[in-house]
Each structure stands twice: as structure tokens, then as C-alpha cells.
């Protein structure tokens, strides 16, 4: 598979990520924002896999592997937050 095709596909995934940022911007709840960030981990893993094969750098697969291994970490930190605070009520318009 040509390097150009792989980098092109990676670029397409990056566009997906950048457009998806709108969800972090809009929210409305904190969980929505975290969910979007989690989704971007999967997209980044996809980009890394494509670049690894496209540029023939197997080391990048290890980077993608680390991302997927640690993907749940942010979530674990998130669910420890107290569930409701004054600002949330105001924020959830």
C-alpha cells in the first residue's frame, strides 16, 4: 500500500478528530466532553497504525498499543469526581 494512501487516510481520520472537537465545545455535560476525548484516543490509535504502515516505522505500533492500553485511565479519573456541583446545574442549559 502506498505511503501516500496511508498518510491520506490518516489525514482523513485527523479531520474526523478536529470536527469532533465541536462536541467538547458544546458539551453539554462533563460526561459528553470526556466521551469525546475517549473517542479521540481510538482515532489517534487509528492514525498511528496507518502512519506505522505507511511510513514503515513499526515502532509507532508500540505507541498505538500504549494508547489503547491506557485508554481507560482518564475515565477512571473522571468517575471519581463528585457527581453534582453548583456549576453543573448552571451549565446544563
Amino acid at each position: 500500500m502506498s505511503a501516500d494512501f496511508c498518510v491520506g487516510m490518516a489525514g482523513f481520520l485527523l479531520v474526523n478528530l478536529l470536527v469532533g472537537l465541536l462536541r467538547i465545545y458544546r458539551g453539554p455535560t462533563r460526561a459528553d466532553r470526556l466521551l469525546a476525548a475517549q473517542l479521540f484516543t481510538t482515532i489517534t490509535a487509528g492514525v498511528l497504525v496507518l502512519l506505522a504502515v505507511g511510513e514503515n516505522k513499526p515502532a509507532l505500533l508500540n505507541v498505538a498499543l500504549l494508547f489503547t492500553l491506557l485508554a481507560a485511565l482518564a475515565c477512571l479519573a473522571f468517575v471519581r469526581l463528585p457527581s453534582r456541583h453548583p456549576e453543573d446545574a448552571k451549565e446544563d442549559e
Binding site: L60, F67, A77
Partner: protein, 320 residues
């Protein structure tokens, strides 16, 4: 062509995320934007042919830093429930006149840096070529590891010391009371899925940590990356209540903390007996000594980072 499109998107994304991280309405959003910024930074390292850095960023930027920031945010929320949300919304800023002035100042700074970048003279010393020409003497074939642990071993030794110093600082200032024994979230603690995930991840992460440590000699990887991976797992255990903070450190934990710096300094001094200078490894022994140093440093970095996140002097295993 597609290379340019990709880099252009990446650069634009970086600036957008940087801006949102710093100006968005409440701190939770800022933290999330920052975590996503870390993802894009990793892609930048990949594009700029720095896979070693990408590995470290993946483990530290996406793992440990996010947990640190969310932890601090949580502490601000529960520590003294704010009567009004200013302590977490926090958009207090200088008066408008000041803000305009500072914006002008920042623009001048950016302009100055850009001007300097566009008119940069050729590099005087080519360190890359120098490193490559002496690589055979270093005992490893990954250039970055060679620089980190042989040619500039002194920096790395001091860096490990700084890490320990930061932990001492955290121990000194971290609020010392009920926060240590306070339970973590019920969600992560009671969820059977989290337990299953951790059971599956445990052997894999230890394996991958050891793998990164081993391949550091000839491919992207090494002590920092391995330590960060193990630390990220420790942080996961802490966040899900499998490791709970204790008010005192056990002897064995302290031993683990100084194991890395200890092994490193001992080897650094020991080589002087073979007639070398400080940290000048004998050629035949170099690769073995580097591996020993890296193993020690990996263990200490991992333990230190977990304690930096928990902020407590010690941690103990809690059985579910």
C-alpha cells in the same frame, strides 16, 4: 501532498486546542482540551521522526498528566465545596486594559520568535553526526538511549534526582489528613468490568514495560517509557481503589524509590575504579551497565510517578 495536508491540519489543531485549553469557560473543559492536546502532540512527535518521545508522551501525556489534573480539580471541588463556582470556573483575569496590553506583548513575543526562526543561521556544531560517529563506543545502538545514558548520562542522573526532589516537595506540602484515607469512587471500585480489565491489563502492561526497557538498546524505548507505562498502571490501580494511600511509607517502598538513583550513582562512581572518569563506562561493559542503570531507573520512575499522583507517603494494596 498528503504529507502537507496532514501537517497543516496537525498544526492548526494544535493552535486551536492550545487556545481552547487556556481560555475555555471552566476548568474541567480546560483539562479535557489539554488531554486532547496531548494526543495531537504525540502525532507531532511521530511526524517529526521522534518515536522515543512519542512513546513517553503517550504514557505520560495521555496517562499520568490527565490523572494528575483531574485529581487536583477533584480536590478543589470536594476540599471546600465552593459557595459559588468561582474556584472552578475561574475566569478572573486582569482588567481589560491589562489584557489588551498583554495580548500586544504576546504578539510581539511571537513575532520576535518567528522572525528569529525565519532568519536562523546554519547550526555551528552538528551534534547528530558527532553522536553517530561515536555510537559504536556507547554500548547501545539506539542513538537516543546512547545520548541519555552514556554521552549525557550526567543529565539523566540529575533528572532522576529532580524527580525524587519533586516527590519530597509534594510530601511536604500535600494536605495531611483525612484525604489519605478517604475512599475513591464507588463506580470504579465496585464495577466488575474494571476489575476484569485490570486483571487482563496487569500482565500485559508489565510485559510491555519490560519489552520497552529491553528494546531501548536498539529501538525506540527505554527507561523513561517503561517507567511511565508501569506508573500508568499503578495510577489505574490507585484510581480504582486497588491501591489506597497510607500516611507513612514502608521501608520497602522507600527502598524502591531510591533504588534507581542508588544503582545509577553506584555505577557512576564504580567506573572510576577502572580508571575512567565519573560515568565513563568501560567499553566492554557499557551495554550491561546501561541495562542495569535503566532497570533501576525504570522501577524508581514508576514508583515515584504513582506517588506523585496519589500525593501520599505510601500506598497499600487493598483486596476487593
Amino acid at each position: 501532498m498528503s504529507d502537507w495536508v496532514f501537517d497543516g491540519l496537525l498544526g492548526t489543531g494544535l493552535l486551536l486546542l492550545g487556545w481552547q485549553t487556556l481560555i475555555s469557560r471552566d476548568l474541567f473543559r480546560s483539562i479535557i482540551w489539554f488531554v486532547v492536546l496531548g494526543l495531537l502532540m504525540t502525532l507531532c512527535w511521530v511526524r517529526l521522526a521522534a518515536p522515543d518521545v512519542a512513546l513517553a508522551e503517550a504514557a505520560i501525556g495521555a496517562g499520568v498528566t490527565g490523572a494528575l489534573l483531574l485529581n487536583a480539580y477533584r480536590a478543589l471541588l470536594i476540599d471546600k465545596p465552593p459557595r459559588h463556582p468561582s474556584s472552578v470556573v475561574a475566569r478572573h483575569r486582569q482588567t481589560t486594559a491589562w489584557a489588551v496590553g498583554l495580548a500586544a506583548f504576546s504578539t510581539i513575543v511571537v513575532g520576535g520568535i518567528s522572525w528569529a526562526l525565519l532568519n536562523l543561521p546554519q547550526a555551528g556544531v552538528d551534534l547528530g553526526t558527532l553522536v553517530r560517529s561515536r555510537l559504536a563506543e556507547s554500548g547501545v545502538s539506539n542513538v537516543v538511549t546512547a545520548v541519555l545514558l552514556n554521552f549525557r548520562g550526567y543529565d539523566t542522573l540529575l533528572e532522576v534526582a529532580v524527580l525524587l526532589l519533586a516527590l519530597l516537595g509534594v510530601w511536604t506540602v500535600h494536605p495531611k489528613d483525612e484525604t489519605f484515607s478517604e475512599a475513591s469512587s464507588d463506580f470504579a471500585q465496585n464495577s466488575p468490568l474494571v476489575g476484569a480489565l485490570l486483571h487482563l491489563l496487569a500482565p500485559l502492561l508489565v510485559l510491555i514495560g519490560a519489552y520497552l526497557l529491553w528494546i531501548g538498546a536498539y529501538a525506540p524505548g527505554g527507561a523513561f517509557q517503561a517507567g511511565a507505562v508501569l506508573a500508568a498502571f499503578g495510577v489505574m490501580l490507585y484510581l480504582s481503589g486497588r491501591l489506597t494511600p497510607t500516611p507513612t511509607a514502608t521501608f520497602s517502598l522507600k527502598l524502591l524509590l531510591i533504588f534507581g538513583p542508588g544503582v545509577f550513582s553506584l555505577i557512576a562512581l564504580a567506573v572510576m575504579f577502572w580508571g575512567g572518569a565519573l560515568l565513563e563506562y568501560p567499553k566492554d561493559w557499557a551495554s550491561l551497565l546501561i541495562l542495569a542503570v535503566e532497570t533501576g531507573v525504570t522501577i524508581s520512575i514508576a514508583v515515584t510517578l504513582v506517588l506523585l499522583v496519589s500525593g501520599s507517603p505510601g500506598l497499600k494494596r487493598t483486596y476487593q
